[in-house]
Amino acid sequence: MAPEGFDIIIDDASHIGELTRIAFWHLFDNHLKPGGLYVIEDRGTGYWDDWPDGKSISLSRPAVSRLQGRLLSWLGVIATKRHLKILSSLFHFSKTPFHCHGYGMVGFVKELVDEQGAADLTRARFDETPKRQSRFESVLITPFIVFVREAVT
């Protein structure tokens, strides 16, 4: 069956993040053709309290003063890389992670986002050479479905 691998794999099975993750990496690494498409259904279950590994959370932004908020809005529009040092010293946000949902399928999809960024993920600095490129050509995230295209190497 599929001696050169599958062209398309669709996962509409458990919608449990860890199970979907295990299936994804096994099938992606061993049974998807280079350039093939892997489709993951119903990524939004991770946002639901009544799903086994889902959880609803508030994504409201950390409180900032009204003045800071206005300043950030303005700077966000005009700031470029040249202003990084000034901005970092003013707001101390350069090492602060975003408040981010990571449960169930949602957390797994964010792992895929990290893999898509493997070239930057595998170097600690801009001037270092990436240790490897992403195994993905692209990841398309829609409201319900995620499409992962395998890279052709």
């Binding site: 599929a2 794999i9 049974h31």
Partner: protein, 56 residues
């Protein structure tokens, strides 16, 4: 003429997507040109799967 291999992982009890694809393949699809040249295999012990070589 296009063809390719498709694998669908689907829930065994509520495998609507897999069943819909299987029915489409068996009926030839909307324009009657769809076919599964190798037949459709299911693996119910692993949840409902469809694996087949599709041609149009």
């Amino acid at each position: 003429m296009m063809s390719g291999w498709l694998l669908v992982r689907n829930d065994a009890e509520n495998g609507r997507l897999g069943r819909a694809i299987e029915e489409a393949l068996l009926s030839g699809g909307p324009d009657g040109k769809l076919s599964a040249s190798t037949g459709i295999e299911s693996f119910s012990h692993l949840d409902f799967h469809v694996a087949c070589d599709i041609g149009t």
